[in-house]
Symmetry: C3
Subunit: 189 residues, 3 copies
């Protein structure tokens, strides 16, 4: 049986670290997942079609072209053999508002089995963002981060209505990586 697990979380929540540790845990049990970044995968589809040369050009594509690329990428992932762990966003916070990470035309092709929301307290996310000098991000306050995380839960519920996927909330507080990764491992098993 091949499973499709989608994992999401706001920037700075520490998603990548939890993914790596969880894959290590289940890997020791002989369970393997191919980790796929949805944005990167979409870029590769666009590049192979000769539509873009670098990732910056992705944002400049027409809305209809972006939609078609999302669909093509989701179709390819939907047909993929073996377990896959798709790293993406429940919603993307843009300067004007929240964009759905998994709109209907993506869900329909992908039909994920699980959707994981990696979350932690807004204050901790704020501190992690402040200490991460490698990324240039618009600084949000903790109220905005809270709003974003709550919005992600709401849209995840809509994703679940449409696909039947199980929605898991994996808390990733400071200093408890083993526990957080363990929870994700439970989903992946």
């Amino acid at each position: 049986m091949s499973r499709k697990v989608v994992i999401t979380g706001v920037p700075g929540v520490g998603k990548t670290t939890v993914i790596e540790k969880a894959l290590e845990i289940v890997g020791e049990e002989g369970i393997t997942y191919k980790p796929i970044n949805f944005g990167t995968f979409m870029f590769e589809v666009a590049e192979s079609e000769g539509l873009v040369k670098d990732r910056d050009e992705m944002r400049k594509l027409e809305k209809d072209v972006q939609k078609r690329l999302q669909k093509t990428a989701a179709q390819a992932l939907g047909k993929m053999e073996g377990n896959i762990l798709i790293d993406t966003h429940s919603s993307v916070k843009t300067p004007v508002g929240f964009l759905a990470g998994l709109p209907e035309w993506v869900l329909k092709e992908l039909m994920p089995d699980n959707l994981v929301l990696v979350e932690t307290d807004a204050d901790q996310i704020l501190m992690r963002r402040l200490s991460d000098e490698s990324r240039v991000r618009d600084m949000e306050g903790s109220v905005d981060i809270d709003t974003h995380q709550r919005y992600n839960r709401a849209i995840a519920a809509a994703y679940s209505m449409y696909t039947g996927c199980v929605v898991s909330i994996v808390k990733n507080p400071d200093d408890l990586l083993e526990k957080s990764a363990g929870k994700l491992a439970d989903v992946l098993r």
Copy 2:
């Protein structure tokens, strides 16, 4: 006009008591509803197809088989004559996460007119669960119960988007059963 009302609530919220009292109230006005437990109804479908012998076997069925059974059950309910009151869950809390009680393929066939969320304070639910020795349940804290109830509101909103059903929140606090049942009766009238 025949109506389909779905009623949901987390374990321990006292859904059954509210349903019984409300059916009594509207019954006196000559309004009748056939109460149906969605899980039991699905089991009866599975049993009649020779797929299972007892309810425990339901959980062990393949995901695709479960999905088909949900659809068949929803189809039968969708075509049923007269008013029906369907007792189910907005979401089911499993050890890994929240499962949609009414995924798209169920909603499409059922097309409920109303969805009722029976709710009360997490602390009261906790006390009711503690005093109910007949059920063996994983003990959750009140924060988890709150999260579950909020998630149920979010997924109910998604159900409403997809079907146009009216979503009613019926509070069921301690010692106010008459009032709670009265609110449900207003929905059923």
Copy 3:
């Protein structure tokens, strides 16, 4: 490129004032939107079909007729040339519960690009409602207003899942109309 922006907010949030000011701001930049009230538009469709003579009759129409009218209205808006700003509700609070303002059959035809939630603190909404003697409304407490605004966010997330529309939260606190209208103007640009 013609855009479809939907704007929503609970009664008393000051939606109309924000719309007027924002249209003035973008108008000075040569950006025009045709403002359309969805309810009025639906009424005009019903009137042209000889189904109703005044708006009161709209509520008395059969559910199926209302659904067909919603669909016809959404179809007409979906095909409209030029930018349109559609004034409607994310959810309507009826005596029994929340009704979806943009159910699936409306969304499918309309496919909005953006959905704006105009919000402010429940206490401010309460004060605005109290001072607005022109409208007869059921008086709600601030807890109920909060619940309604939160429900609107949840259903907006479901709308976004289904259409890919960007969801913007525009806060409209007392004495900061310029700022609120400026945020809406950012969406309209």
